[in-house]
């Protein structure tokens, strides 16, 4: 049985367990459910959990472990003579897997029988012909064929063993938990502690994700730094990867591009976002606010790929034809300016809604005091509200900066791919995220520094944004407490 069907069977058994458990609880109390410790459903759930949980866990572990174990076993059976200079063990292994897959397909489609597949050899003309007629290619090399048959045998045995073990475990759990049911059995407490365990597990997933991110970044980055000196990575000013070797992988041009674009985006987004927030919270009537706020927030709901296309098709050529080319700043459609402006548009709602919340959190009494002393609303905003809200606004700007640094699609489509350090905002430059995408899309060789550098770049990016986020969150949190 395939793991999917084993799972379905286990769940069906659990359903049976639920019904039986309920019924048994009822009969153990002789029909008077007031004698039971818990309500009958809990007895049903209790049986279902004991039926399904252990066997599902076994299934999960087995499915994850089986490929590793089978690969190792089969790999050990391949003679060293089969490994030649032109083919590494890994390549042979994938050929073995491919052959085994094809054989499995042939058996499934009924072209050859199970025993014919097991006895197949290269001399067996009749069977190979049958296979070839059905369009199934069998490898020409004998050791691979042997290994593939091995592989199939291992997998077949393993899945048989799994089916047996999982079903036995499920039935044992069913029987045991049914035998436990008595009127005094505390089914609710047991079910509730399972549920509680599940809740805790789910909330630990957040930590697991972070740990996963850190581990995957750190491990591959260490491998990268074993192949490439870290000084050259962090302080190199030249980025010229070449898969033939001899690449220069200096991060500084990418960092420069990232920071330059983020700076332009913030120079655009912060004043606009801030003024919009001030207007909405201090001047606008509820009706205007009720219309403007959601419209600006639509900007936040638009996927970044849309902004990317906007930069590529509309804004880039516009800036080139109307500003950069006439003024002699260069004629590249993708530029720091293009990416920065479009990213700025994307960040407006981010800045404005965060600042709006923060400005609204400033107590009304401060406003009233200032207005009562005779200052105009704008003087109140400048001299009272903004100073009071400043830490929060700084936090909002930092969060926006972290968004800008980590933004990918806009810069991939709008900023270009040239790694260089230049002051001209109309030049095409590139960023960390662009290069991560560039190095990791397509076919990768995870042993070359040119691919692994993406993980080091990712780690740099992660650390930068994490630092910004933590600082921003601390500031915002402190500020909130101040007025609560």
């Amino acid at each position: 049985m395939s793991p999917f069907w084993i799972m379905v069977t286990i769940l069906a058994l659990a359903l049976v367990g639920y019904i039986l458990g309920r019924r048994r609880a009822g009969s153990s109390a002789a029909g008077d459910i007031r004698k039971l410790h818990s309500r009958p459903t809990y007895y049903g759930w209790n049986t279902a959990i004991w039926t399904a949980l252990p066997s599902l866990l076994l299934l999960l572990v087995w499915v994850l472990a089986q490929p590793l174990i089978v690969d190792r076993a089969v790999n050990g059976n391949i003679p060293d003579s089969a490994v030649s200079d032109s083919q590494t063990r890994g390549q042979i292994m994938s050929e073995v897997q491919g052959t085994a897959f094809e054989l499995g397909r042939a058996v499934n489609e009924g072209i050859v029988s199970q025993s014919e597949a097991r006895a197949l050899s290269l001399d067996d003309a009749a069977t190979t012909e049958k296979l070839a007629a059905a369009g199934i290619e069998i490898t020409p090399s004998a050791p691979v064929l042997e290994a593939a048959k091995d592989y199939r045998a291992f997998n077949l045995n393993a899945s048989r063993a799994l089916t047996g073990a999982a079903l036995v475990l499920a039935l044992a759990g069913l029987a045991w938990s049914l035998s436990q049911i008595k009127p005094g059995y505390r089914a609710r407490n047991i079910v509730e502690s399972f549920v509680r365990g599940f809740l805790i597990l789910c909330s630990l997933l957040a930590i697991a994700t972070t740990v996963g991110i850190v581990l995957s970044l750190v491990f591959e980055s260490i491998r990268f730094f074993q192949l490439y000196p870290w000084q050259d990575f962090f302080f190199g000013t030249e980025w010229t990867p070449s898969f033939g070797g001899g690449s220069k992988l200096g991060m500084l041009p990418l960092l420069w591009g990232t920071l330059y674009i983020s700076l332009i985006a913030l120079l655009f987004a912060v004043p606009i976002g801030l003024f919009a927030a001030i207007y909405m919270s201090e001047y606008a009537t509820p009706r205007v606010r009720g219309f403007v706020k959601p419209v600006i927030e639509v900007l936040a709901g638009i996927p970044t790929i849309v902004y990317g296309l906007f930069a590529l098709v509309t804004v880039g050529p516009l800036i080139r034809d109307w500003i950069a080319a006439p003024a002699g700043f260069g004629n590249s459609a993708s530029s720091v300016m293009t990416a920065g402006l479009v990213m700025g548009i994307m960040l407006i709602p981010f800045v404005s809604s965060l600042s709006d919340d923060i400005i609204n959190a400033v107590p009304q009494s401060l406003r009233d005091g200032s207005l009562g002393l005779g200052s105009t609303p704008s003087e109140t905003v400048r001299n009272v509200i903004l100073p009071a809200a400043l830490p929060g606004i700084v936090g909002a700007i930092l969060l926006a900066a972290s968004r800008a640094i980590g933004e990918t699609m806009i810069v991939v489509l709008g900023a270009g791919a040239m790694a260089r350090i230049s002051g001209n905002p109309f030049d095409a430059m590139t960023t960390i995220t662009v290069k991560i995408v560039g190095q990791l899309t397509g076919d990768n060789d995870f042993a070359s520094p040119e691919t692994l550098v993406a993980f080091a770049l990712g780690l740099t990016l992660f650390v930068m944004t994490l630092a910004l986020n933590i600082v921003a969150l601390v500031i915002v949190r402190k500020y909130r407490e101040q007025y609560e």
Binding site: S203, I278, I305, V306
Partner: protein, 454 residues
């Protein structure tokens, strides 16, 4: 002299007294009022810029993309020549399937040539190559499929609308003009004139193009045939995975943190973690997916399952944050009442608090899904950029087969050499935005209908 000293302030006062009326503002007040007006104007300008940017963005997308929903077809009678499609004359499927698609192309070209001769169209420099490149190379394949499906049409002359090439199509969408046709290697002025003549006689029509939404992607030189079918299915599969995983996990995590968790170090770390995860750049999640799901766990590249898992991890913080807000909004009196009549803590939460918080939870989930639907960067890293033309099969197997995704398809098309793909990319964005709009609408309706103020 004492007069002079006291005259100072009095003179100032006298100056003030020269002001004729309270209704006329003095210079300083005017300055302050002007500053006030300016300040207010800055705010209005800022809002105007933001709104204009939105309008401009949507306008250009609709302008560039609406063309993708309309496609030009050639309505010229085609004679299905038995000598070409069935050289052995036995109507045997197997023999007919052996005929190359190329031969069908010559049939189409001939039909166009006949049409030109019959309609007496005179165009200078119209050659064989112009006829050949008038049709999309997809048109021959469509015709071939049609003939193989109903062999009875062999030998007859039928009216099949055939897909025109992207250049001919572009002439009707303003992408190709007489000037640009002249210098373009893939079309010619003669072709342009022919298209004009054909349109006049009704042999070339532009109509709504469902194929754009249902057909799979097409290769580099067939922009006119490229569609979103596989991408929509891939995105739908991923959304399914996100919904099935992220909703229960997110709700469970929020229930624990909001209702059960003691205030201690661990829960503090979890909380900080969640708010940090919400701000981690999406591309980092892509790296996680590549390293953990593909390299470590050995899941297939380009598969919706990997995309779905990555997007689940990305969406979880959003769902957790909104679910916690919804749980917090349920007043404590509900909990107290349930506990008071003897419910356990777990029963209180699952029977009373959670149902009341459900509208908020669902709203948050839909918004999280919408976010996940538009996410591109992580999917690039797990190989969803692959060129996929086969529809994945139904779940669960289909979740492990290669597929594309809507936003990635947009990216893919922007990387093609032919600028006709930009129209497709904008069209795909319209589809994507339509989905997002629908999801947000559902969220707003849910909120309006079920939101309760306590």
């Amino acid at each position: 002299m004492t007069d002079a000293v006291s005259a100072g302030p009095r003179r100032v006062g006298a100056q003030g007294a020269t002001r004729k009326s309270l209704l006329v503002a003095d210079a300083r007040t005017r300055r302050r009022n002007a500053a006030e007006t300016r300040f207010k104007a800055y705010g209005i300008v800022a809002i105007a810029i933001a709104m204009l940017a939105l309008v401009f963005l949507l306008f250009t997308i609709v302008r560039d993309g609406s063309g993708a929903f309309r496609q030009t077809f050639i309505d010229v009678p085609v004679t299905i020549d038995a000598a070409i499609v069935d050289p052995k004359g036995n109507r045997d499927q197997k023999d007919m399937a052996g005929v190359l698609t190329m031969s069908y192309g010559s049939m189409l070209e001939k039909s166009l040539e006949t049409w030109v001769a019959q309609n007496n169209v005179q165009i200078e420099g119209l050659g064989k190559a112009d006829y050949a490149s008038f049709y999309s190379s997809q048109a021959r394949a469509t015709l071939r499929d049609m003939v193989l499906e109903n062999p009875e049409i062999i030998g007859t002359t039928i009216n099949v609308p055939a897909l025109a090439s992207s250049r001919v199509d572009g002439m009707f969408k303003g992408r190709v003009t007489a000037e640009s046709a002249e210098i373009d290697a893939r079309t010619s002025l003669a072709q342009f004139r022919l298209a004009e003549a054909m349109e006049e006689k009704g042999a070339l029509t532009t109509r709504f193009n469902w194929d754009f939404v249902t057909q799979p992607d097409a290769s580099d030189n067939r922009a006119e045939a490229a569609g979103l079918g596989v991408a929509i299915i891939g995105s739908a599969y991923m959304m399914l995975i996100v919904l099935v995983l992220a909703l229960p996990i997110g709700v469970a995590a929020s229930i624990y943190l909001e209702e059960f968790a003691p205030k201690n170090r661990l829960t503090d770390i979890i909380e900080v973690n969640i708010s940090n995860l919400a701000a981690v750049p999406s591309i980092v999640f892509g790296i996680l997916g590549l390293a953990a799901f593909i390299n470590f766990m050995g899941l297939p590249r380009s598969a919706p399952i990997v995309g779905g898992l990555v997007l689940t991890l990305m969406t979880l913080p959003t769902i957790i944050i909104s679910t916690r807000a919804a749980l917090k909004a349920v007043p404590p009196s509900i909990r107290d009442a349930a506990l008071g009549v003897g419910a356990s803590k777990m029963q209180t939460v699952f029977h009373h608090v959670l149902p009341l918080a459900m509208p908020g939870v669902l709203t948050g989930t839909i918004i999280g899904l919408a976010q996940a639907l538009g996410e591109t960067a992580p999917l690039l890293l797990i190989g969803m950029v692959a060129f996929v033309t086969a529809y994945p099969s139904a779940p669960p197997e289909g979740l492990f087969e290669p597929a594309s995704a809507l936003p990635v398809q947009v990216y893919n098309w922007t990387q093609r050499a032919d600028s006709a793909f930009f129209e497709r990319a904008s069209g795909a964005i319209i589809v994507l935005l339509a989905f997002l709009f629908a999801m947000n609408l559902v969220a707003i309706i849910l909120r309006r209908r079920f939101e309760r103020r306590w």
